[in-house]
């Protein structure tokens, strides 16, 4: 009896002098998500959005949504490029994107994190419409997966920072989204997300309630002669302007943008505690140095 069990569970030894053919991996960036964009899967995803993501985000984040008028006229596939604080970012965007755009959305998700095995990969693909990409480098497979989604008419959500913020400040944008925009000829929609770092920060497993917000920007198109790396910088700057718009208002943000005084989204180059201090009492609220009024009456 035990012999049969061992026979079944233990792989056979490879004879000497024979090269065993390599198996094509079916996890990570190799995971095939085609099935997750069929109508039945979409229906399940729609059910998931309405029954889980929307109520959860409404409960935990009570989000403020700004700038949907800027994306009202969008018709074809686009790339949404957002800053990234938390896993709640994906839920927030799924809950707040207009349904017309959400229906055909693929989310570029870290292959190592969301597709480590076939079960987690299937859940990621089914419930959030994830497609696997490599976070640390531009690989052919990542590009193929993303390009395929855009060519099939789906929009793509990318977090160009490549991962969640470790300290509440943004990281530099990687050029993947810009490269795809150039290659596929689609516009990029910059998005600023605020407050999700307080709901589910990196390293925490259970959310807590805190207000959050999402600001959509105008579609941006890469020029014919424009370098994707330069365009990535432009998108990064636009996200910073949206952050400024959220913090100081649209008019002040526009003036700051033209004066080149838009606050740096990457924060000061300083030690950890000073970076955290500069974030202010809540992530997203910058601590102002001199312009704040004192909390006592003027005497």
């Amino acid at each position: 009896m035990m012999g049969w069990l061992r026979f079944i569970t233990q792989p056979p030894a490879t004879p000497k002098g024979v090269t065993k053919p390599e198996k094509t991996p079916k996890t990570g960036v190799h995971y095939d998500t085609t099935w997750a964009h069929r109508p039945a899967a979409k229906l399940i995803r729609r059910f998931g959005v309405w029954s889980f993501f929307k109520p959860a985000i409404a409960f935990y984040g009570n989000p403020r949504v700004i700038g949907t008028d800027r994306i009202r006229d969008l018709d074809g596939p686009v790339i949404f490029a957002a800053n990234h604080h938390s896993h709640a970012d994906t839920s927030l965007l799924l809950a707040t994107l207009p349904s017309r755009l959400r229906e055909d959305l693929a989310i570029a998700a870290g292959a190592d994190y969301f597709f480590p095995n076939r079960i987690l990969g299937a859940l990621s693909a089914l419930f959030i419409g994830a497609i696997p990409i490599e976070r640390t480098r531009i690989s052919k497979l990542s590009l193929r997966n993303s390009q395929k989604a855009l060519e099939e008419g789906r929009s793509l959500l990318i977090f160009p920072e490549g991962g969640r913020s470790p300290d509440g400040w943004s990281s530099e944008h990687k050029p993947g989204a810009a490269y795809l925009a150039k290659r596929c000829g689609v516009p990029v929609i910059p998005i600023y997300i605020d407050g999700t770092g307080s709901i589910l920060p990196k390293g925490k497993n259970w959310p807590k309630r805190s207000r959050c917000a999402v600001v959509f920007g105008h579609p941006m198109t890469i020029g014919d002669d424009e370098n994707p790396r330069d365009f990535a910088k432009t998108v990064e700057r636009r996200v910073a302007e949206l952050a400024d718009e959220f913090g100081t208002g649209w008019w002040q943000a526009r003036k700051n943008a033209y004066r080149n005084t838009t606050p740096e989204p990457t924060g000061p180059e300083a030690g950890a505690w000073r970076r955290r201090w500069a974030l202010g009492p809540k992530p997203g609220q910058r601590r102002s140095s001199s312009t704040d009024k004192p909390p006592w009456p003027e005497l």
Partner: protein, 539 residues
């Protein structure tokens, strides 16, 4: 699901001769509808053209218009640090119904402000140029200019309603050669640049009327808002033959000479009032093209509306936001810009019609420029029919002189007490005495215009100015003089009689009554509006 595009090749408006095959024709009837059979062989229906295609990239078109204005310098070259910039924009009366977000005013104002920010302009005021109309609520202002602009300017008191009765806030710029006073908001008059953001829904709007009327007060507008001028504006939708416009243009000359520099931005919309799909789309289709689904939707909608109380019906209709598309944006010199704008408006609205008619019929919808989010009181019913629809012609009126106008509207004896307080007194006191516009103007206008209580309500609440119902009455004075009789189908009998019109229960009764005036077997023309059309009458 992708957004549905407008039809690829919109069909122009046309005139349908009614025959035995013609299905019942749609008449708007306030917050409801009627389907009416018109007599065969002597009736015709004027249909509006289908909505023109909108601009694919409105923001790009706006930017292009600001950078390449007509007969003026590019906007960025007019913006300097330290200057005073005032952006004035059309009020709640445009467009009708209000458009879906983003409103074209928002798009334009954001583009202008973006350039102002780039130029380092700090002193910016935004003024809703409402003249003697009611003040817009915060929600209405927010809808017009968008969240971003509203939140950036309104909390600081830099986005506000024009106050034509502010004793310190108005200035006289001068007088025209005909002695017409030219008045303007002090802030606008003392600005280095006034950017006017207009929506040209009909050909009457825009041009010098934007600043000369929109930013003026009673002293300024009484020059042309009077019976004589409006009776000699034939029609006031046709600028070439409108005394109203000639007067505004004379005032414009004074503004050019003594007022601030004006940079005019005008936009036109198509007539996509009820959408190409959705619950109201059927109202935009020609009756013989109604599908089974359309007929079912219409029947359900009409039955549902019949069973609702009037306040609920109003709520349903006033919550409708039209999915208009922007068809053009032009900027620069007021007159040059307006010429181009008018061409675009005519391209959408004009429908050639051969010859006049004995009897003109029209179904009046729920909305006029003066009852957005409000009640369409009997005076507004009059102004919709005799002021606006009657005057939507070029050449000569659709109906012959001495003809009969039949309009369909419930004409309830109902007024919005906050928006229209002076209308109530006008209806109860003035019209009970006389309906003659000239007598009304001479005996009552000054008293209402200078009434302190109306003035207070206009300045602090959301009331139309005390003189406004008079202007409404003058607006219809040309038609009143021209027509032999006006009949209202399905209206409140007492209210209709108070207006000086005749009530009728059905269209058949009204047509029968009309024969007493125009003789047996009269020719009938039905004016199928909305969506808006303008009759180009020849022959």
């Amino acid at each position: 699901m992708k957004k549905k595009k407008p039809v690829a090749n919109p069909r122009p408006g046309f005139v349908l001769e009614v025959d035995r095959q013609t299905p019942p024709i749609l008449f708007h009837h306030g917050e409801g509808f009627r389907l009416e059979k018109l007599p065969v062989g002597r009736s015709r229906v004027v249909y509006p053209g289908e909505p023109l295609r909108g601009i694919a990239d409105p923001d790009g078109a706006i930017r292009d218009a600001l950078l390449n204005p007509i007969d003026d310098d590019p906007l960025p070259s007019l913006l300097k640090p330290g200057m005073k910039l005032t952006i004035a924009f059309d009020d709640i009366s445009l467009p009708l119904p209000p458009m879906q977000r983003p409103d074209v005013r928002q798009r334009i104002i954001e583009a202008v402000l973006d350039m102002a920010a780039e130029a380092g302009v700090d002193d910016v005021h935004l003024i809703a140029a409402l003249c003697l109309h009611r003040r817009m609520t915060d929600t209405e202002l927010r809808h017009a200019v968008g969240d971003r602009v509203f939140e950036a300017f309104h909390p600081h008191g830099l986005l506000y309603n024009h106050d034509a009765e502010d004793p310190d806030g108005m200035v006289i710029l001068g007088h025209t050669e005909k002695g017409e006073t030219v008045q303007m908001s002090r802030r606008a008059a003392e600005s280095d640049l006034v950017v006017y953001v207009n929506i040209n829904l009909v050909s009457m709007d825009g041009g010098w009327k934007s600043t000369a009327t929109g930013l003026a007060g009673y002293e300024g507008v009484r020059a042309h808002h009077n019976v004589h001028t409006l009776r000699h504006s034939r029609s006031f939708m046709d600028q070439e033959n409108s005394e109203l416009h000639r007067s505004n243009w004379r005032q414009g000359d004074v503004i050019k000479a003594h007022g601030p520099r004006i940079f005019q931005i005008e936009s036109t919309l198509n007539t996509n009032t009820f959408g190409h799909d959705g619950p109201m789309a059927v109202l935009q289709k020609r009756e013989w093209e109604w599908s089974i689904a359309d007929r079912a939707a219409f029947t359900a909608m009409a039955a549902g509306l019949d069973r609702m109380p009037s306040s609920a019906r109003r709520k349903v209709f006033h919550s409708w936001k039209a999915p208009y598309d922007v068809t053009s944006v032009q900027a620069g010199d007021v007159e040059a810009v307006h010429k181009r704008t008018t061409e675009m408006v005519y391209a959408q609205h004009l429908v050639p019609v051969q010859g006049q008619t004995d009897v003109l019929t029209m179904g009046l919808p729920y909305l006029t420029p003066y009852n957005v989010n409000s009640i369409m009181n009997p005076i507004l019913v009059m102004v919709q029919g005799l002021g606006y629809f009657f005057n939507l012609y070029r050449g000569k009126p659709l109906v012959r002189e001495g003809g009969v106008l039949i309009m369909s509207h419930p004409t309830p004896w109902e007024f919005h007490p906050v928006h229209h307080p002076s209308y109530i007194d006008f209806f109860e006191q003035v019209l009970a005495d006389t309906t003659d516009p000239v007598e009304i103007e001479q005996r009552y206008e000054k008293q209402f215009a200078e009434d302190e209580w109306y003035r207070h309500l206009y300045r602090t609440s959301h009331a139309y100015h005390g003189v406004h119902p008079f202007y409404m009455w003058y607006w219809g004075s040309h038609a009143m003089q021209y027509l032999a009789q006006v009949i209202v189908v399905g209206g409140n009998e007492r209210a209709v009689r108070r207006l000086g019109f005749k009530p009728a229960t059905t269209l058949a009764d009204a047509l029968e009554m009309a024969t007493d005036i125009v003789g047996p077997k009269p020719t009938i023309t039905h004016y199928h509006n909305p969506p808006i059309l303008m009759a180009d009458v020849t022959g």
